[in-house]
């Protein structure tokens, strides 16, 4: 075995998967989106999530080389590739979150490790432990204001920013990937709590869930 043991989590055959919100939809339902819905939710599960830790310079080089994506060097930076399907986000001075289409994460990790050589870094697959919830609609930021003490005024939270901060009684990652879309990256075990919180807080605005 090598110094670091990578692990391909995906089976070679088709296997039924359950997203972190599978139980929640059954327990709490998913209110339909109507014309009067001012807030809409959508889960985007089963993506590849990798936590990168290490020095910014080597990681940036490797990431450019492998994905053509540059590492945000400034706090709270969020970069997307041209397709918009792959993103890398600053989490801490030595930590970034890479989100890619589901299934890419293993080979991506391998390629990154190849590119990184002996550099002291850590790459950890956390795909099973996180999911992404999109929040859209004219009152999306109002729901977020109930949800987090972070300043989510669209005039001061630009597109391309992402933060880890408190949401109700836990924490999550909030990103603004486009003018109209906010993304919450939540941990699996807290997903149900956060989902129920969103439904409750969004009731006033006719919140609906894309099914």
């Amino acid at each position: 075995m090598s110094d670091i043991r990578q692990f391909q989590t995906h089976p070679e055959v088709e296997i039924a998967t359950e997203s972190p919100l599978a139980y929640s939809r059954q327990r709490s339902g998913a209110p339909a989106i109507t014309v009067s819905s001012q807030v809409m939710l959508r889960e985007r599960p089963f993506q590849g999530h990798l936590t990168l830790r290490g020095g910014a310079i080597v990681l940036d080089e490797a990431l450019r080389h492998v994905l053509g994506l540059s590492l945000p060097s400034q706090p709270h930076g969020l970069n997307h590739d041209d397709s918009g399907e792959r993103s890398v986000q600053w989490l801490a001075p030595d930590e970034w979150l890479l989100i890619v289409p589901g299934g890419e994460e293993f080979s991506l990790e391998t390629r990154l490790r190849d590119a990184l050589g002996d550099a002291h870094v850590s790459i950890v697959d956390v795909s099973g432990g996180q999911t992404v919830i999109d929040i859209e609609g004219e009152m999306a930021h109002a729901v977020l204001m109930k949800f987090t003490h972070y300043d989510v005024d669209p005039t001061v939270f630009p597109v391309g920013k992402g933060v880890t901060t408190g949401f109700a009684k836990t924490s999550a990652i909030l990103r603004r990937s486009s003018a109209s879309r906010w993304e919450l990256v939540v941990r699996r075990s807290f997903a149900d709590y956060l989902y129920r919180w969103l439904l409750d807080a969004g009731e006033e605005y006719g919140i609906g869930v894309e099914r």
Binding site: P75, L91, T164, T165, G166, S171
Partner: protein, 123 residues
Amino acid sequence: MFHIYCPYCEEYREEEEFHPKGQAHLSRPEDPDDCSDEAWGDYLFFRDNPRGIHHEMWVHAQGCRKFFNITRHTVTYEILETYKMGEQPTITAETNTARPAATASSADDRAATEVKGAQGVQA
């Protein structure tokens, strides 16, 4: 409710994202086996508890998870600076002797102190 400048996130965040971790700049004795019980007890349990300027360690638990230091006045609760682990404070009780040791009524002189927090301090 403190508004704390995280020197790693480079912005102010709400107190709820942080955990206080006690006195800053404690260091574990290099050779514990050489310590007397007295010295080891001091390291474990005896902390500065000033009424006035205090250096304390906090962790940005709901953010970048980094530990850092804060210089804070324990009566006015004013945060005078925040700085990264490994750096030294620029404001101490000694450099700040212009301010009298605070007494119960001296929340008054809160206005007198300048905040250096926003930029943090690069050592």
